[in-house]
Symmetry: C2
Subunit: 188 residues, 2 copies
DNA sequence: GTTTACATGTAATCCGTTACATGATTGA
DNA sequence: TCAATCATGTAACGGATTACATGTAAAC
């Protein structure tokens, strides 16, 4: 029971490898072409991170490595059993109210990655928690707003931005809960 | 013309000091109590950053230091002329389309800090640029969405989240441009 | 025949977190 | 006097960026 602690970046890599076995370059391409391409990991971040995951026994360089008559080394990583367990535990971690705003993007990544690792019920619970956390956060911002002179300059306007954005996020969460309730994930 | 390069964190500290001369502890309190308290800088980040700003000649420990019969050292920093120039240049920097999503929070910080350092016209231009960048980004997301099966699981749903949030941000930007046009900043 | 995509890596540097250390002042 | 607040700092550690290095394969 050695508590495996990973960085957010490592968890995202592990999650992507859980979705589909990938080489470092594959992962780079995923970041480059998918909408999450707002973050582009450098080689100096990516390859050492993969090595750390391997060293910790969460992924392994699988059979596909060095195939396809590629003379150049090519390591295709796949998750180990421990890797899947670790990732699943991360996905199940509660949504913390006090950091929901800071980690909003990360929570969305978790949502994407829990599709095949958690049960529909656990996904529902996650979204419910997320909605609650967002509601609490917007309520807090509302209080700040109420305590601020509405015509007091840019700080107040920026506060309105935070409110608008997190209300939209909350709205999405509620909509998604409803959508997943009426049309359950395809198990066809 | 030694190009002074600062981290985002350093620029935020410098910006806060430009708004009002502050000690390290003052800054800590600002982070703790204002809505931007989602980020709580540690002592190990804060004090070395202030030292770096001082070493680079952007702030100086002002007259208020060690006053108030505080035996314990207390350094109240105020911006130097070079500090104000550097900060102003940062505030004037263009909004980059390709990083608007990643740096959205930072752009809002810039908006707050440009209130007293830039002209209303420059603020307007900044918001116009921000709106354009957000429009470009949402258009890009729209294209991704159009190319994705609408019932294809969590990735698509997460994309919808990004769209909702950035549309809300864009809406705020347009609203704010309008608001600042009708009621110009108080110069009373 | 040279650029572009594929594919992985290292070294220097810098910065942030965590945890610990120190000491004064105020109020219960 | 004991806790909380004020107030600044250091040391160990880890990880990210930048820039550089290396080499193959495909395409033009």
């Amino acid at each position: 029971m050695t508590e495996v602690q990973l960085t957010a970046f490592e968890h995202i890599l592990l999650g992507l490898i859980c979705l589909a076995p990938s080489s470092g370059y594959d992962l780079k391409r995923i970041f480059a072409t998918s909408p999450m391409g707002i973050y582009q990991p450098s080689s100096g971040a990516l390859y050492p991170a993969l090595r750390r995951l391997e060293r910790k026994g969460l992924v392994r360089a699988g059979a596909a490595s060095r195939a396809d008559r590629h003379a150049r080394a090519r390591y295709v990583y796949e998750p180990t059993e421990l890797g899947v367990v670790t990732q699943t535990r991360w996905l199940r971690a509660p949504v913390r109210r006090d950091t929901v705003a800071r980690d909003l993007g990360l929570h969305l990544m978790r949502f994407v990655m829990m599709e095949h690792l958690l049960s529909p019920d656990q996904v529902r619970r996650f979204l419910r928690d997320l909605a609650d956390a967002l509601a609490a956060f917007t309520a807090e911002l509302d209080q700040h707003a109420a305590a601020t002179d509405p015509s007091s300059g840019h700080a107040r306007l920026a506060l309105d931005h935070g409110l608008a954005v997190h209300r939209a996020s909350l709205q999405w969460t509620e909509n998604t809960i409803a959508a997943l309730a009426t049309s359950p994930p395809l198990s066809a």
